[in-house]
């Protein structure tokens, strides 16, 4: 199944600040959707609203499955979220994390065995399955977070700046892993502050100060605006402001 997400006039006020100011977006089903923007653009707030952690102050979020409207409760079991900050237990091992999340998602034992073995092989963490999360390198840590999210074979994944603070080689491996996920028609919404990562997405949404600046395919957007990279666009808009 292919999950689509559309937001309409989303506003979210967090204490004195308006983190989202009328965000209207359409996330394409079964592809990698990027939410690109500098720090403080509202990316994390947007993802938290989409996963249901925060209630919007105003506006709506509509979900669809294979083109037909679906309620949040219907798609929630197939949703996976990877927060920006460290979200694993430093005193539990890689294997213990997988077991814990498999139990949370109520995976049958055979399915768990098959998926965990595949994920450990693909992420090359097989040798480290007894190592505690607190002793993993930055890249391995992020891979483990992604593995926990992928364990339930989600149809909608929300990843909040997953490559933040990760070395270039681990980042490349991480994106390769995401490529495998989208090959299975999983809708992925990924936020990042690394502008060059936008090129890896099928569709990007540029966000700044809680507002959508532009949406579209990366190559198309660059051609339309006559820019080489998205950093240039943000700098130009920042200068104009």
């Amino acid at each position: 199944m292919s999950v689509g997400v559309e937001t309409s006039g989303l506003r979210k006020r967090l204490k004195a600040n308006e983190a989202l100011s009328g965000v209207t977006l359409s996330f394409e089903p079964g592809v990698l959707n990027g939410v690109i923007g500098p720090d403080g653009a509202g990316k994390t707030t947007l993802l938290r609203v989409l996963i249901g952690l925060l209630a919007p102050t105003e506006g709506t979020v509509a979900y669809s499955v294979d083109g037909r409207p679906a309620g949040f409760d219907a798609i929630r079991p197939g949703m996976a979220y990877m927060p920006q900050q460290p979200s694993l237990y430093p005193d539990l091992s890689v294997r213990e994390h997988l077991e814990f999340f498999a139990d949370l998602y109520r995976l049958p034992a055979a399915v768990y065995r098959e998926r965990s073995e595949e994920l450990l092989r693909v992420t090359r963490l097989e040798r480290f399955q007894d190592r505690r999360a607190g002793r993993l390198s930055g890249g391995m840590y992020k891979k483990l977070g992604l593995m926990c999210a992928l364990l339930q074979s989600p149809s909608l994944m929300l990843l909040d700046e997953p490559t933040n603070g990760v070395d270039p080689i681990s980042r490349r491996e991480f994106w390769e892993l995401l490529g495998r996920v989208t090959a299975r028609k999983v809708t992925v919404i990924i936020s990042t502050a690394y502008m060059e990562e936008a090129d890896r997405c099928a569709r990007v949404h540029l966000l700044e100060a809680g507002k959508v600046l532009a949406s579209g395919a990366p190559a198309e957007l660059k051609r339309e605006r006559g820019i080489k990279g998205f950093a240039e666009l943000f700098l130009r808009l920042g200068g104009a402001a």
Partner: protein
């Protein structure tokens, strides 16, 4: 059992028991605290330094003095000065016997009341010794009074303060361990960033809350068994009530304190705040529980507040079950209040659980 709850149970126990500091806090500290507090928290005053001023030939007064020392509470003051003693006993002018014959005269006791609690105890001991002395007659061959006061002390015949205090100390330790651990548990998830992962998983709120609290209810029950065993073995506290009532009381109380701990943790953003919140609850709860000071002696407004303290009900319950065998009305009414408090705190914690995210 629900698989999610089992997953949480396994994870929490693994994390808690893997940490050597937590093992000490959970299994060693309660027994150490039980021993130390059990010995230290005593209303009994011993080795009271007594100075007696009497004429050398006053044999009745000398026998009264002997009675004071034989009681085990008083010892002769080493120096002769007022500052060397806690209390001074003055014989009536002309001697004790002559005063009795005259039908008038005072045995005066001057007490150092810098420590008011100690002074009150000295006064009570002295009255009891004097009453006993007068009842037994003034000397050999002299008849005791025709009507005697026959005092029988029930439930704690030796009137050992440990028998009264230790159940209070048990309650205090259980309250401390369960509140601190539970309040820290949620705060640790929030601080470590794992809270967001859990709440975004396709789980019901009740599964998360129950999953996070169930391990601490179990650990609290293990601690309850530990402190009660230590109290019975080390301080000879009688266990007169049925064991199942004791276990049920501990279970309901632990559910109440774990619910309060969870409520605190939904308010706190960090482990530091949770710890502070826990102690802000614990200090008044312990002071108003009746463990050390009777609630009946408190001003009405404070006594009213004390009735909101779950510890007060558990202390009453535990003392009643251990010492009196568990009166059905006392057990039932206190358990009902504790259960109501548990439901109230759990409902509030549940309500706040989602609010905190926004």
């Amino acid at each position: 059992m629900n698989r999610t709850l089992l997953a949480f149970l396994r994870k929490e126990l693994m994390q808690t028991l893997r940490d050597p500091r937590m093992r000490v806090i959970l299994f060693i500290m309660p027994v150490v605290q039980m021993t130390v507090f059990g010995l230290a928290l005593s209303t009994e005053v011993r080795d009271i330094r007594l100075r007696v001023l009497r004429e050398p030939g006053d044999s009745a007064m000398a026998r009264l003095e002997e009675r004071f020392y034989a009681s085990g509470w008083f010892v002769p003051a080493a120096g002769g000065g007022e500052t060397d003693s806690d209390a001074t006993l003055y014989a009536p002018p002309g001697g004790f016997r002559r005063a009795m014959e005259r039908g008038e005269g005072d045995v005066q006791l001057i007490v150092d009341a810098v420590n008011a609690a100690k002074a009150r105890a000295i006064e009570a001991y002295a009255n009891a010794i004097l009453a006993g002395f007068l009842r037994s007659g003034l000397g050999p061959g002299e008849p005791p009074p025709a009507i005697d006061l026959d005092v029988r002390v029930l439930y704690n015949p030796a009137m050992e303060s440990a028998v009264f205090m230790v159940p209070g100390v048990m309650s205090m330790i259980l309250c401390l361990v369960t509140i601190v651990l539970t309040s820290m548990s949620f705060a640790r998830e929030r601080e470590g960033g794992t809270f967001e992962t859990i709440v975004s998983a396709p789980l019901h709120d009740w599964e998360i809350i129950l999953g996070k609290t169930l391990p601490y209810i179990l650990l609290g029950l293990v601690d309850a068994a530990l402190v009660i065993t230590a109290g019975v073995l080390l301080f000879s506290v009688p266990l007169r009530g049925p064991l199942w009532i004791l276990a049920l009381s501990a279970f309901v109380f632990i559910i109440t304190t774990v619910s309060v701990g969870t409520l605190i943790s939904t308010i706190a953003d960090s482990q530091q705040q949770a710890m502070l919140g826990g102690f802000l609850f614990l200090f008044p709860a312990i002071l108003m529980s009746g463990i050390m000071f009777p609630v009946e002696n408190m001003p009405p407004a404070i006594a009213w507040v004390a009735h909101l303290d779950p510890l007060m009900y558990f202390v009453r319950l535990l003392r009643n079950v251990l010492l009196k065998g568990g009166d059905p009305w006392v057990v039932g009414s206190n358990l009902a209040v504790l259960a109501a408090m548990a439901c109230g705190a759990a409902a509030l914690a549940f309500k706040r659980f989602r609010q905190t995210l926004n």
